[in-house]
């Protein structure tokens, strides 16, 4: 059975009240949504808020899922819309200080939660992720979303255009501008003493 069929079965079972099916469905996608949240929101607290809101939204609209689109596409569309909502609600991106404070908390959480028993590796990965999140934080939410969908979700410009309800050319322009900005921010970042 393919993952898509399994998703549809789990959704059907969850609609019929199976808590096990719901839990499996959440476990299957929570990692992707949470990491998407980390990249879009820049810190674990907002990423967790986003994750919870996505699954709450999913739960409330589960009966609307018809199976004519992939479940993954559907959930990522919910995550996309929730990220915009959350970003607008926060209004401002977290300041550098907040990110740095969060890094220490995140590092501890990650080390405690690491199943690989390799804390040094976990901290190294975390620092790398924080650096990527910090650079992404310099982009506007629209640019960040395009980068997220194009680079991390591997969507085409047309798919992104449909999701964002804009033209494909707008998406291309946003992506190009985002890459230019990332280049400039990276150069600035590495030029710091």
């Amino acid at each position: 059975m393919s993952l898509i069929d399994e998703d549809q079965e789990l959704v059907a079972a969850a609609i019929n009240g199976s808590a096990n099916a719901w839990e499996k469905l959440v476990k299957r996608y929570e990692g992707k949504i949470y990491n998407q949240g980390l990249r879009l929101m820049g810190n674990s607290s907002d990423a967790m808020d986003l994750t919870q809101e996505v699954f709450l939204g999913l739960y409330r609209n589960l009966h609307r899922f018809r199976g004519d689109a992939k479940f993954s596409t559907w959930i990522f569309r919910i995550a996309h819309n929730k990220a915009i909502d959350l970003s607008r609600r926060n209004r401002f991106l977290p300041s550098r200080t907040q990110i740095e404070m969060q890094e220490e908390i995140d590092a501890l959480e990650a080390v405690h939660g690491a199943s690989s028993f390799e804390p040094e590796k976990a901290i190294g990965e975390l620092q790398q992720n924080n650096q990527i999140a910090r650079i992404l934080g310099k982009l506007s939410i629209e640019q960040r979303l395009v980068v997220e969908l194009k680079v991390f979700q591997s969507l085409t410009f047309e798919e992104i255009a449909i999701m964002q309800d804009v033209s494909a050319n707008t998406v291309k322009t946003r992506f190009y501008a985002a890459l230019k900005k990332l280049k400039a921010v990276s150069e600035e970042y590495y030029a710091l003493p």
Binding site: A19, E30, G31, Y34, Q52, A110
Partner: protein
């Protein structure tokens, strides 16, 4: 030198559904235009840097299970074979507690099994006698052991004392020899010191006599002058 086509061509380059002919044309331009080529390289590197992201674990959360169960009135959904046995350990613990609190006695003999509650009194005398005999036996064994250890200890002490005394004698002889040698050395040193002292004294006396003679000569000379 900046190229007016850079933005458009790079935007198209990143499109997944670009026609092969169009892609080929773009690549031909990139091969001939240094500015576009450099720009593309830098942007591809930026994109590649983002791909270094390592997925992090999700912190613990209840996955909306409480909400789901509440809204679907799920009380206890089966979770496979072991789910029905989850209360076994609690039930066994309670049964053992009851056995302890009620002093349950289970006797198995040729007449079969019998279970009685609070039946420890009947067995107390037998247990006391067994305990007394056991205690007596242990005490005797302990006394014998102590006696053996004492004897052994005494023998060891005597041997140890002998060894110590022999060593003390040996040490004393050696010490006396050392002391004698020291005294002898000291005596010779004293004799030498004394000899040197006498010599100095004799020298001093001689010098004194010479001085007195000179004074006497001086006085007699002065008397002759007058």
């Amino acid at each position: 030198m900046p190229c007016p086509k850079t933005e458009y061509l790079i935007q198209e380059y990143f499109a997944d559904d670009l026609a092969p002919v169009a892609r080929e044309e773009i690549e031909v331009h990139f091969n001939s235009c240094e500015y576009c080529s450099n720009e593309l390289e830098v942007l591809l590197r930026s994109q590649s840097d983002l791909s270094q992201w390592q997925d992090q674990q999700v912190p613990h959360w209840d996955r909306g299970m409480e909400l789901f169960r509440r809204e679907h009135s799920v009380i206890n959904e089966g979770r496979g074979f072991w789910s029905g046995w989850q209360w076994i350990s609690t039930a066994v613990s309670l049964a053992m507690l009851a056995v302890l609190l009620l002093n349950v006695n289970v006797v198995s003999n040729e007449e079969g099994f019998s279970i009685s509650f609070d039946a420890l009194g009947a067995q107390n005398a037998y247990l006391d006698a067994r305990m007394l005999a056991f205690e007596q036996g242990q005490k005797e064994a302990m006394d014998a052991l102590v006696q053996r250890i004492e004897d052994s200890q005494e023998g060891n002490n005597i041997e140890l004392l002998q060894v110590v005394m022999e060593q003390a004698q040996q040490t004393t002889i050696e010490n006396l020899e050392v002391i004698y040698a020291y005294f002898e050395r000291q005596r010779l040193q004293d004799l030498e010191d004394m000899r040197v002292g006498y010599q100095e004294l004799v020298d001093n006396d001689f010098a004194t006599i010479r001085s007195l003679q000179q004074i006497a000569q001086f006085i007699s000379y002065q008397g002759e002058i007058r």
